[in-house]
């Protein structure tokens, strides 16, 4: 996993070169060349560009080239006109985390807005404030800080929705440290706001405070996108991202809202009898099937009876088909490992934490190749003793049809002693 992510490292020189080219183009614009002229050259020179690159470049323009913030901001609308098409291109990605509505996509979207707010507006206003601490400037700064306080929602979602999952996977250190820094930033914004409201003429201290806010917020974005997010993507299952996305609205968003709800791609359900594809949202069909009967070699059960029987077995069952797609799980009163309906129609690989997927795959490969027909595991969990069995399900011609997971708490069985012959 980490090897994959490290590939990004090798892209850095390429990015540096690209940024040089972008900077040249920006300077041409600054010197008075027309947008159309530059646009053509831009497309020729750089196929696509990420939003990160633009903000890095804009930052470099201010820092290294000495172009005043106000100039860069004036150019900002021109950048947007030029880059718009290509930014949208890059967003058309097949990776789930790049799709609108995925929590990672939303976090990054917000980060771009936060960057714009602190690196342009707040930076510009604090530069002006340093020159002239007029009431007007103070109001503008207060405005910016009020907007920036919205960052609380971004941080809260990270802390309350994302961190618990990371902690579930044993990641404590980074989350604790980050939470502390988040708190520091929130406190700092509030403190500076208070100072501005009761401005005592100490321009110097306030300027330093504002600069600190800007740099801390930027650093947090860097940490989120370079450490936290890659780390989370390496651990969390798709199911967990779905849950985070669902709960995100309760906390709210910061400066940007996701354009759409993220719906991960699911494998459509295949009709039992006809073999034809039934979309899961076609509730009518599902209902009809529910009212029907299932004919077995050894009897007939109504759907209702079958369902009740399955759920009264003192075991948990989960079935995945020959394409590794989760098709069914029983939902008895005391399910040992929680399953949510969200897993149905998704591959089993998507329902396991990435670091244990290879074990699942290995087992499935042995089942499919016929090397194994079953595999058992047993673990002690509190007062339960859990016996987990996997069976390769094969048809009469020994063709692999799927895998059945069979989980049972056998502690009460193991505790049996002697014998019981009559009802007591």
């Amino acid at each position: 996993m980490s090897e994959l992510i490290n590939n990004r490292e090798y892209l850095v020189p390429e990015q540096g070169r690209r940024q040089e080219m972008l900077k040249e183009i920006m300077k041409d614009l600054h010197a008075g060349k027309s947008v159309d002229e530059v646009k053509a050259r831009f497309q020729e020179a750089v196929g696509d560009v990420t939003v990160e690159e633009i903000s890095a470049m804009e930052h470099a323009l201010m820092e290294e080239e000495g172009i005043p913030v106000s100039e860069v901001q004036r150019l900002c609308s021109v950048h947007t006109a030029i880059f718009k098409g290509s930014i949208e291109e890059i967003h058309r990605s097949s990776k789930p985390e790049d799709q609108p509505g995925h929590p990672v996509h939303t976090f990054k979207l917000e980060n771009r807005e936060i960057e714009r707010l602190v690196n342009f507006k707040l930076q510009l206003h604090s530069d002006k404030f340093r020159v002239e601490d007029s009431t007007e400037m103070i109001y503008k700064l207060l405005d910016d800080l009020n907007l920036l306080l919205d960052i609380d929602k971004h941080y809260s979602r990270k802390e309350n929705l994302l961190f618990p999952y990371l902690e579930k996977y044993g990641i404590y250190g980074p989350t604790k440290v980050m939470w502390g820094v988040d708190d520091g930033i929130r406190a700092m914004i509030k403190e500076v706001k208070g100072k501005l409201m009761n401005y005592d003429g100490d321009k110097e201290t306030l300027s330093i405070d504002l600069a600190r806010i800007i740099s801390e917020v930027n650093e947090m974005i860097f940490k989120e996108e370079n450490i936290l997010i890659p780390m989370a993507l390496g651990k969390l299952t798709e199911d967990e991202w779905v849950k985070i996305a669902e709960e995100s609205e309760l906390i709210g968003f910061c400066l940007a809202t996701p354009e759409s709800k993220w719906i991960p791609e699911r494998v459509p359900m295949v009709g039992v009898e006809s073999g034809e594809v039934v979309e899961s949202d076609e509730q009518g069909d599902a209902k009809q099937m529910r009212q029907g009967f299932v004919k077995f070699d050894t009897g007939i059960l109504s759907m209702k009876q079958l369902e009740a029987v399955m759920n009264h077995l003192p075991i948990d069952l989960t079935f995945i088909d020959e394409h590794d797609v989760v098709r069914y799980f029983s939902h008895g009163k005391e399910r040992i490992f929680a399953r949510t309906k969200a897993v149905i129609g998704r591959t089993v690989q998507n329902c396991h934490p990435p670091q244990s997927v290879h074990i699942v795959n290995e087992l499935l490969a042995d089942f499919k190749s016929g090397k194994k027909d079953s595999e058992d595991f047993w673990i002690a969990m509190g007062d339960k003793f859990i016996y987990i069995r996997y069976f390769a399900i094969r048809d009469a011609e020994a063709q692999y049809m799927g895998t059945l997971e069979f989980t049972q708490n056998i502690a009460p069985i193991r505790a049996l002693e002697g014998q019981k012959r009559i009802m007591s």
Binding site: S2, I5, N6, E9, Y10, L166, G170, I171, Y172, G173, P174, K176, V177, E219, F222, K223, N226, I227, P230, M231, G234
Partner: protein
């Protein structure tokens, strides 16, 4: 033993191959690296140049410290 540090490698890779690197990095100002779980999680995504940028420690200073301790730097 070849004492070299590949700056493209993650801090996790470097420190697990040679624990002395960890001590030096903590001394250089990467104290958080010593926190439990940090190396195994964040460390897998962190490289020395990234960390230097974040902690605002001059990369040159890090490199020269390692060199002074007998390491070669690979970039």
């Amino acid at each position: 033993m070849s004492n070299s540090i590949d700056l493209r490698k993650t801090v996790y890779e470097l420190c697990s191959a040679d624990p002395k690197i960890m001590d030096m990095m903590v001394e250089l100002g990467f104290e958080q690296l010593a926190l439990p779980g940090m190396l195994q999680s964040a460390g897998r995504f962190m490289t020395i140049p990234k960390g230097a940028k974040l902690k605002k420690i001059k990369l040159e200073h890090i490199k020269s410290t390692f060199r002074a301790n007998g390491y070669e730097i690979e970039e």
